[in-house]
């Protein structure tokens, strides 16, 4: 357990200190401001939580893309830095190091991301006349945003064992728009399924946010919201377990 906590702590520190984490998320935020600064007020008055979720939906166009890409080098860099040989000679298990890295780097990247969501909601809230909309963010972040981010983070760390980071970044960006934003009636997509990381199901189930996106006002039971969260977390965990099993097997064959 102490190796896991140690890895978590120091991976957290290292990721939080990366200038590119702050710069990239800042850049995504500027893009968001540029894209939504000309949009007018909503056509009709919505409940504040619904409005907050709409803003979160808008921010989710870009912010999680930067998040996924910023995590993509975390596992791979052990090789490029040349730290693997030392780490492999230590008694700490691969699992403790891998999961510690996952949680440490993910939580660290969530901090500027949360800040960016907050700034965007504050800015948009002021523009539409309700600066207090940001008060919904903590709950929305935990229930709607975080499960998808944990899912994305797991794949960003795992996939780069096999894919070069730049290629992963391109594929991930494509996946994000295809899997979250393309309407299912246009082409087969993961959008509007329980595996949508943008959080359509939790938003609909827990906040009755159903008038935009996939559900056309149809109410979604809490169980489906929970199922979506569980499925996202389990799929992410599966990706990491697959990586762990692969590396263990490879180490045994060395």
């Amino acid at each position: 357990m102490s190796a896991f906590l140690g890895a978590l702590r120091y991976e957290f520190c290292m990721q939080l200190r990366r200038r590119s984490v702050w710069v990239s998320i800042g850049f995504a935020l500027v893009l968001l401001f540029a894209l939504f600064s000309r949009s007018g007020p909503p056509e009709r008055v919505l409940p504040p939580a619904d409005t907050a979720l709409r803003l979160v939906g808008n921010a989710s166009f870009f912010l999680p893309v930067a998040f996924g890409i910023l995590l993509a080098d975390r596992w791979r860099r052990e090789r490029s830095l040349g730290t693997l040989e030392l780490l492999d000679s230590l008694p700490a298990s691969l699992g403790a190091r891998l999961w510690g890295k996952y949680f440490g780097a993910t939580i660290a990247t969530m901090i500027p991301l949360l800040l960016a969501f907050a700034l965007f909601m504050l800015y948009s809230g002021v523009r539409i006349g309700d600066a207090t909309l940001v008060r919904f963010l903590p709950l929305i972040f935990v229930v709607v945003i975080a499960p998808g981010l944990l899912f994305v983070a797991a794949f960003s760390i795992a996939c780069t064992e096999w894919l070069p980071v730049p290629l992963y970044a391109v594929l991930f960006t494509g996946y994000w728009f295809w899997g979250n934003l393309v309407p299912p009636e246009r082409m087969p997509t993961l959008n509007c399924t329980l595996l949508t990381p943008i959080g359509e199901y939790p938003a609909a189930a827990f906040f009755q946010h159903t008038d935009v996106g996939c559900f056309n006002g149809q109410s979604i039971p809490i169980a489906l919201g929970l199922a979506s969260i569980a499925l996202l977390l389990a799929t992410g965990a599966l990706a990491l377990f697959a990586l762990q099993a692969y590396i263990t097997r490879r180490a045994a064959a060395r």
Binding site: S2, T83, L84, L86, L90, A253, R254
Partner: protein
Amino acid sequence: MEIQITGLTKQFGDVPALRGVDLTIPSGMFGLLGPNGAGKTTLMRILAGILHASAGAVRVGTHDLSTDAGRQAVKWILGYLPQELGVYPDLTGTEFLEYIAILKGMRDGARRRARVAQLIETVGLEDAARRQLRTYSGGMKRRIGIAQALLNDPRLLIVDEPTAGLDPEERIRFRNMLVALAGDRTVLLCTHIVEDVAQTSHRVALLLGGRVVFDGTTTGLAQAADGRVWSLDSSGPAPSGDLTVVSAIAIERGMRYRVVSEVPPAGASAVAPTLEDGYVAVMQKRRAA
């Protein structure tokens, strides 16, 4: 703690890296010499539990390295400095050592911090300890590497080219530190700097092409060049033929060459062999064989 290596073979695909190595490494300092590609690093990695042997047996004390349990047990008592040590540029020297200490299973925070502070002082990095590693020079990174290897007060210390990148004073300091440490533990010093072995180790093995071509004392290795080391002053061209020029120094009227050769070059006089001469003589004999 004695290391027993029997018939150790390691293949990378079709390429043999170690070919039936038999070696006993007793407690104390032990030097492992050999040219690049001799198999030294492969042997180190097997001893550190990073690589698996293709055939043969390795026992470290009572631990059998062919089993997962044996490898894991050795990792708890091991200090390892790889040849190419990577560090995290975003951590400070202190943080890096703290992190490695945690991964080495040092759970008591107060003792861990005290040990890190002590080792930072030992390697002379007090002034740089709070700086990020990205600002460290190559020598400073090497010293951090040495400190991390010593964190858990290892019973078995394996250091691969530890003095590469260190200035002469640092090298001497580090060599003395290794000798002091070696009292009650096994220290395996793997290098191609013969001087480091000459100044620290009583026992030495020489690897060439994945085989042990010499195993004995440093005196014994030097004696391998008995009657084969010559000094030659010349103002003409450098001596050539079936010989190795160990050194060439400019003197008042030409050059003074130190030569290892079975046959004395014309005009040369015999000199007492050093460990380096012994190393060269063994290599010459093996290549000729």
